[in-house]
Symmetry: C2
Subunit: 485 residues, 2 copies
Amino acid sequence: MPKRVTPPEITLGERPSNVTLTRWLHQQLRQSILDGRLKSGTRLPASRDFANHYKLSRGTVVAVFEELQAEGYLSSTVGAGTWVNELPENPQRARKSSPPVRILPPPLTGLTFPHPARPFRCHEPAVTDFPMDIWARLASRRLRAASAAMLAERDPRGHLPLREALADYLGVSRGVNCAADQIVIVSGVQQALDLLARVLLKPGDRVWMEDPGYFGAVIAFRNARANIIPVPVDERGISVTIGRQRACRAKGAYITPAHQFPLGVLMPLERRLEILAWARETGAFLIEDDYDSEYRFEGRPAPVLQSLDKNESVLLIGSFNKLLFPALRLGYIVVPSRLVDTVLAFRFGIDQNSVGLEQAVLSDFITEGHMGRHIRRMRELYAGRLTALKEESRRYLGGLIEIPHIPAGLSTVGFLRNGMSSREAEIAAAGRGIETMALDRFTLERKDVQGLLLGFAAFDESRIRRGIASLAMALEQRRAGAPAA
Amino acid sequence: MPKRVTPPEITLGERPSNVTLTRWLHQQLRQSILDGRLKSGTRLPASRDFANHYKLSRGTVVAVFEELQAEGYLSSTVGAGTWVNELPENPQRARKSSPPVRILPPPLTGLTFPHPARPFRCHEPAVTDFPMDIWARLASRRLRAASAAMLAERDPRGHLPLREALADYLGVSRGVNCAADQIVIVSGVQQALDLLARVLLKPGDRVWMEDPGYFGAVIAFRNARANIIPVPVDERGISVTIGRQRACRAKGAYITPAHQFPLGVLMPLERRLEILAWARETGAFLIEDDYDSEYRFEGRPAPVLQSLDKNESVLLIGSFNKLLFPALRLGYIVVPSRLVDTVLAFRFGIDQNSVGLEQAVLSDFITEGHMGRHIRRMRELYAGRLTALKEESRRYLGGLIEIPHIPAGLSTVGFLRNGMSSREAEIAAAGRGIETMALDRFTLERKDVQGLLLGFAAFDESRIRRGIASLAMALEQRRAGAPAA
């Protein structure tokens, strides 16, 4: 019979009413061990004595002792009872709170993105307006009915019902021509770019990049050790003529035809046909980033370039992380049939497949019409916010900044008219608590496009008004002759 | 005033009682358009007439028309009413059901993993025994209380409370010595390997690889264009002596000290100190894959190698995808402080960050003791299944296959004693409906280790019994002189 020990002096805190006995006792004991109040080697009383002493049922005590044992906090053997293990070192005590993230690669160096977002952070959707109640209901339904098949799902293409819903959605809303098996679900545009750069490019291969252009593509191409060929963007998008002059035999190009990043211009049909002709003639691939295309506030969105492609040149990529919420981590690639196997084999080696539950919930969200409703609501909300931004800018930023007419997206470019370089303006704005991104962060060879990127989607009209007032003060500095930073 | 049109002949199906009117009407109209029953150009009646005709409230009809418009199925203008858009091509009709995945890279070529798993699929956890009710409850609670901060979370390190819970858990259960800010949450071991191979190795760099060893690491090192140096595994794990002879100045090594993959041996202390000494002398990194370490069925698990490392050489990686369920997509890297910024900057360029909700739920699952309880239950279940596998093997596979005493993991090696090569045995087993993996899939230079990898965790005792009977028939073929495949 095990030797009986007296209960050690363990002070158990008050149990909150919404916490079960088991959970509470587990937390209390675990915390006592981590804090060192229950020292290593301490023998715990037998479960029956412990239960009596603390007025608990013996079953609860046994369950909690067993959990703590499985986790490594306690050990027990028949005859010797239960004791507190020696912990390797106390990580609880060594821990500090997280320092801010200092980890953004160039060209984002020096930026921080603290929560909550301040005006005019780019690409921040209005998360407070996301219908989380609906999402939670759909997720709870899926969780309650979760099958072994869903828990074990490992298809590197992604959840079939989501790919089917997406093939319909993209077909109808964006003119995409694809079957569900051409869709590969990924975690977002960055994973899509990283994957495609590695599959499509060998080190040293040349690839056209819009200048100015999206930093995420630059990072992906650099990581693939590709040779990035900067191709200037004009008012119709990437210049195919200059691209052909610089590197006619490049392996491919990255383009944003719906809404050029960061300038916002729409690529007209003629230019679309021109770049498709180049791809057809040379066998080049085109990565079409269908960025912010859902948010066109006037007229219908232009269909994707992919819908004009007769030659399987285009790989279309898109994301739900800005459309719905950033922590979702779902996006897609529409892959030409001839490349599906190659892309999937590589994808398996990167991370096997994407998260399961969210894929099922997203497919319900789309097929039950919540996506359409959310997009419509956000389109109205964002259009109103863009209007507010423009009106306030006309009123307070006259002569300082000029916002071109681009009725689309979550952000807009503002061209500086006060003589500041874009980086000077970014720094001056930051000094007034305003988040912007200098356009020179997105240039490659091109000299500074004097301007800022201003996100408006996540900020209501009063925050936009106050933000514009602060921005005006920051940008007045130069006009008033004061140093820029 | 818009011209009134008569309601078109739209047959609306019966509404199931658990479906809201709005959702039902949306689905019916969307499906009619996708099927071509509602043709492009068809004008819909005014919402009021439509509502009267189908005995619906006008609000419902307006909401559904607006959703379908936002999704691109309908258009409307004041004065002209609402009509069905032209769809680019009907992807619904073009779609076939998904063919089986043909996409596994070498060395997995030729394998398929259909659902449900058949005995003896390796690395399949007992998903039917996962406490999905508890997970669903925790997830629902998180979803109901989801804050804007959670939806917008983008920290490439991962959710701080999860990293804190994990620092405690790994400290106590595995002897890991780390702060929460040294942990990077990733989607699993494969993403960890891919990320680390890219951060730590330049093309052409040499890296030690266990032979036989884990295919996922081979894929990651190949994709990073590293020069893989095969180093044989003996009964104590990787041979440091041979590694030093072959490539003393290699940049690093991949090792599985807790449970060598696929042979299952435990690396003893002496060998651990030997490989740490090599890393210290040469500045090499050690990627320690703490694979299946939770499932040691006798005695306490040995602490990680990382706990002995005084030199910041070890990067520890692990996953929750087998411990809990494969569709979860969460794992971790414990990074030495000196490398944290480098790893995070690169991670941002790969996929920015991991899925948000699951991280919050997992942190609750750990801190509330459910993880400990689940591990304890699975440890008992799997130990019983391993015992059943061994007993049945002794009874029916005597002289055909020999299972060494390795009381750990979700799978075990079985050494062939019937003269078959491991690939012959894999093919013969597949012919009897048995899933195994030939050990020659995991060898690099080494000649075939005649054996099969047998997973037992996902199969109850009756399936194990029937599986062993089928395997015996497959392996008898050679002994009986019949052709092997």
